[in-house]
């Protein structure tokens, strides 16, 4: 139990740090942040809507006021889930917009990452099982090469080939003009069609890290004394590879999965922007280019919370998988 409590404590503290970072970033610039933002907005020949100013005030608190008091206001607003009004999507609230975009990103990232992890781990285990064979070199060298390709570029190539040239899949958006979001078959199949290319661009690069990590870990565990002794005990190669190799080698990958999520969610910003996919990533970019600070900050906070939650889950899973960690509770 102590292991889980300690992890929970860490995540609570990290959450607090992320919230505070979010509070501090806009205040890092010199001068009154709200004024600076408002003046920058008006300087860009945009009409400064009173609602926008209101939203900025909401986010930044009373200008010139006590920083600590601002921090208190900010914290209570965050706790209440009140992030103000988005002025890109006026009059919708930031919370509403996040709820709109969330399912798209969660499904796209969730499915592709789980598939990547499973496929990558299996391929890596296979390469380690057939170490120094042709299969091994093919898998390792192939994945190393694929791993160097920038995936937003892969996305462009996919669009060029499958979207424009072959016209197999829609290249833009999350659903077509013909269907509207709802629990209908037409919408569902349309959404799947639209998700093929974004998913593919994530799936090509996704497994690479897991392949290499798993292979190297497993080559190492198969060289350990317990694996050699298992061989001496007449266990079958399969059994040794699974229980004495893969079972142990997968553990660092589980922790790695959580750490990688931060990077992957960052990657969705790129993918969603290429495909104009209606998820949180594209929304963030839109918020940035429209200087929709409330939305941008809330999204940053939200993505961080998502990564933290995933990390916590991975830690719990790790505790279940590795008896040595559980052992530490007793000690």
């Amino acid at each position: 139990m102590r292991y889980f409590l300690r992890r929970a404590g860490f995540f609570a503290a990290t959450l607090w740090a992320a919230v505070t970072l979010n509070f501090l970033i806009p205040r890092l610039q010199p001068g009154d942040p709200a004024e600076a933002i408002v003046s920058r907005l008006s300087g860009e020949t945009r009409i400064v809507d009173p609602a926008q100013v209101e939203a900025i005030r909401k986010m930044l608190g009373v200008p010139g006021g006590n920083l600590l008091a601002q921090y208190g206001d900010y914290l209570s607003a965050v706790l209440a889930g009140d992030f103000g009004v988005s002025y890109t999507y006026f009059p919708y609230t930031v919370t509403h917009m996040i709820a709109e975009g969330l399912p798209w990103t969660v499904v796209l990232v969730g499915v592709t990452q789980v598939v990547s992890f499973v496929a990558g781990t299996l391929l890596g285990a296979w390469a380690a099982y057939r170490r120094n064979s042709r299969v091994d070199s093919l898998i390792t060298l192939g994945s190393t090469f694929v791993g160097t390709l920038p995936f937003f570029w892969l996305a462009l190539v996919l669009i060029y080939v499958f979207g424009f040239t072959l016209n197999w899949f829609p290249a833009q958006g999350g659903y077509g003009g013909g269907s509207s979001p709802g629990w209908t078959w037409a919408f569902f199949s349309d959404a799947v069609q639209h998700s093929v290319l974004p998913a593919l661009s994530l799936l090509i690069v996704g497994p690479v890290g897991w392949i290499i990590g798993m292979r190297n870990n497993m080559v190492q565990t198969l060289g350990e004394d317990y694996a050699r002794l298992a061989r001496a005990r007449g266990l079958t190669r399969r059994r040794i590879a699974l229980t004495y190799g893969a079972r142990i080698a997968v553990l660092p990958n589980v922790t790695g999965f959580a750490i990688a999520l931060g990077g992957i969610l960052g990657g969705t910003v790129l993918v969603e922007s290429v495909f104009n996919y209606p998820g949180l990533g594209r929304m963030m970019l839109e918020a940035v280019s429209n200087r929709d600070y409330p939305l941008m900050q809330a999204l940053f906070l939200f993505i961080t919370i998502g990564v933290l939650a995933a990390n916590f889950l991975a830690d719990v899973l790790y505790g279940v998988l590795d008896p040595r960690v559980r052992g530490e509770e007793a000690a």
Partner: protein, 587 residues
């Protein structure tokens, strides 16, 4: 036909970017049904490689490059993987050197037994629990994970696992190395009983001479990839045929004997990546003649067994490498250099590592702290050197209270108290030269200039027997042998001209044949330079050889102390007697 017949077996390591090394070179031997054979050799002689080759468990870059291993009529070196798999464990099993890591860390002990039975299609029933009972373990252990067991328990599990399918042959590769002597003793006793009871044959690989001589029916001695002698244990104890065996056996003695004389073999084994001509032991041999340098001797019948020596019929040169015994001074004179009084050390969590210990260190005298791991001897060393502060009591160096020193004053104190470490491979920075390592204390503590430090470093190397010094100054640690490194470590400790030397198990990581050499050096330094030495060890023989006074430590307390001869030869406390009983008794 013998159970195991090894013929002309060679194993070569071919590293990708290095010279091939023939670690095992045309080795032949038999193991008969039910026989207990010992294979004795020092680190790097190829004994573990030979063991792995017999089991066909070699990993790249090592590979069998010649010869056969026939077990019960089947040639293991050429058998198909599936044939081999069904033979393994059912007929040949093994216990590895580091049982710390030979159990799968993420599954229970019980699951590993099940794995074994399942692989051979056997219904386990209650076998696992019975096997554990055989090695005096509770069946509860089956539900435990390896990290929840102590080292001794893991080794018992490994032994029970090895006997799971009633094999006819068990290969034991240093099965008790790294365990406490008392635990070692109980496991080895149980092993011998089981072997007699179940009648399996054993190949027992070890560098621990006393144990091998006591346990085995027949002993083979390995040197530089070859077997140099093969004789019944009793015959070998009485008369060794090969000069190397003579040197090796000469390095062991019973510490309880009235008179002990221990020898060492100077020099180091040959570099096997080079072409070998003549006898491989010639460079270290006291009986060497011209023929030894050109003619490679064969393993030929001699005495009651076999030997690989051209001079086997010549009378042994007596005392070829002897270290003369020296009379011990029983009483100390003058005031102590360091006084430890009623020292207590508690660690967080309430564990008491040291409990009311008192002793004095005198100039020119050696005090040995003897105890097993966890007895508090290393903590005491930390208290003496100021790394840790006592919870109660005092450590006094003249008028200085060591426990109160901090920062600059602590650094100044360390000029007077220096350390010799256990592991010569860890005690020298792999990226710094010998000259650099020696120059630091000279420049910091004695304030010498770079040029002066260079000269003094050379002098120090000569003092510790590394001459000519110029040959060693620019070397990096990996270019030196274990013994040479330990000499450098000692030279560095001597550099600031300390009053006290704390030597923490300084010989336990060294090869048996050179231990006495290092002990002799420490002894000479303490006497000639008037250094007060605290010698920490678990090994009663070395304590007997080096120390004037022995303190036996158990669970943080000194249970018995006094002049060396009295403590070891007329032990009073039960714990001291237990330690003495755990010593191997070569036949």
């Amino acid at each position: 036909m013998a159970l195991l017949e090894v013929r002309e077996l060679s194993v070569t390591y071919r590293p990708r970017d290095g010279v091939p090394v023939r670690a095992v070179d045309r080795v032949s031997f038999d193991v008969a049904e039910g026989e207990f054979v010992g294979l004795l050799g020092e680190s790097g002689c190829g004994k573990s490689t030979l063991g792995n080759a017999v089991l066909r468990l070699l990993d790249k870059p090592a590979a069998i490059t010649g010869g056969t291993v026939v077990f019960d009529g089947t040639d293991i070196t050429t058998a198909r993987e599936e044939t081999l798999r069904s033979m393994r464990w059912a007929r040949i099993s093994t216990v590895f050197q580091s049982s710390m890591n030979s159990l799968n860390p993420v599954i229970t002990v019980g699951a590993q037994f099940e794995d074994t039975f399942q692989a051979h299609g056997i219904d386990p029933g209650h076998r696992a629990a019975e096997l554990l009972a055989m090695v005096s373990l509770d069946p509860v252990v089956l539900r435990r994970f390896p990290h929840e067991l102590s080292g001794g328990m893991k080794q018992r599990v490994a032994l029970a696992l090895a006997l799971a399918l009633s094999p006819r042959f068990v290969l034991l590769d240093e099965p008790t190395t790294g365990l406490d002597v008392v635990v070692q003793r109980s496991i080895l006793d149980r092993l011998r009983e089981l072997q007699v009871e179940l009648g399996f044959a054993v190949l027992f690989i070890s560098h621990d001479l006393g144990t091998v001589m006591e346990m085995a029916d027949r002993v083979m001695v390995m040197y530089a990839g070859e077997i140099v002698e093969d004789q019944p244990a009793r015959a070998m104890t009485a008369a060794q045929l090969h000069p190397y065996s003579r040197g090796l056996l000469g390095s062991y003695a019973d510490p309880r004997a009235a008179q002990i004389s221990v020898t060492y073999v100077p020099g180091r084994p040959p570099d096997l990546s080079r072409e070998q001509r003549g006898c491989r032991f010639a460079a270290r041999c006291p009986m060497v003649v011209d023929a030894c340098l050109s003619e490679h001797p064969e393993l030929l019948p001699a005495g009651q067994g076999l030997a690989r020596c051209l001079m086997v019929d010549s009378p042994a040169i007596p005392g070829g490498f002897a270290v003369p015994g020296r009379a011990r001074v029983d009483t100390a004179e003058g005031p102590p250099v360091l006084a430890v009084r009623d020292v207590v050390k508690d660690y967080r969590g309430g564990t008491r590592a040291v409990d009311k210990v008192s002793f004095d260190l005198h100039s020119g005298r050696v005090t040995a702290l003897v105890g097993q791991s966890g007895s508090g001897k290393t903590t005491l060393a930390k208290l003496v050197t100021g790394i840790e502060r006592p919870t109660e009591g005092s450590v006094r160096f003249g008028a200085t209270d060591v426990g109160a020193l901090r920062g600059r004053k602590l650094r100044a104190y360390r000029r007077h108290v220096q350390l010799v470490f256990q592991d010569p491979f860890a005690a020298l920075n792999p990226t710094s030269t010998v000259a650099y390592a020696l120059s630091r204390p000279l420049r910091n503590h004695l304030g010498l200039s770079a040029a002066e430090a260079g000269e003094r470093a050379a002098d120090l190397l000569e003092v510790v027997g590394l001459a000519p010094a110029a040959q060693y100054l620019d070397k990096l640690p990996h270019q030196l042998s274990g013994g040479q490194r330990q000499r450098v470590v000692i030279a560095r400790a001597l550099a600031p001209e300390p009053a006290i030397l704390v030597a923490d198990e300084p010989i336990s990581m060294l090869d048996v044949s050179i231990r006495a050499e290092i002990l002799e050096l420490l002894d000479r330094l303490a006497r000639d330079r008037g250094i007060a030495m605290l010698y920490i060890t678990h090994d009663l023989l070395s304590a007997r050889m080096l120390a004037d006074e022995v303190l036996v430590l158990s669970e943080g307390r000194v249970v018995e102390g006094g002049p060396t001869l009295r403590v070891i030869r007329h032990a009073e406390h039960a714990y001291t007697k237990l330690l003495l009983d755990a010593l191997p008794k070569p036949v």
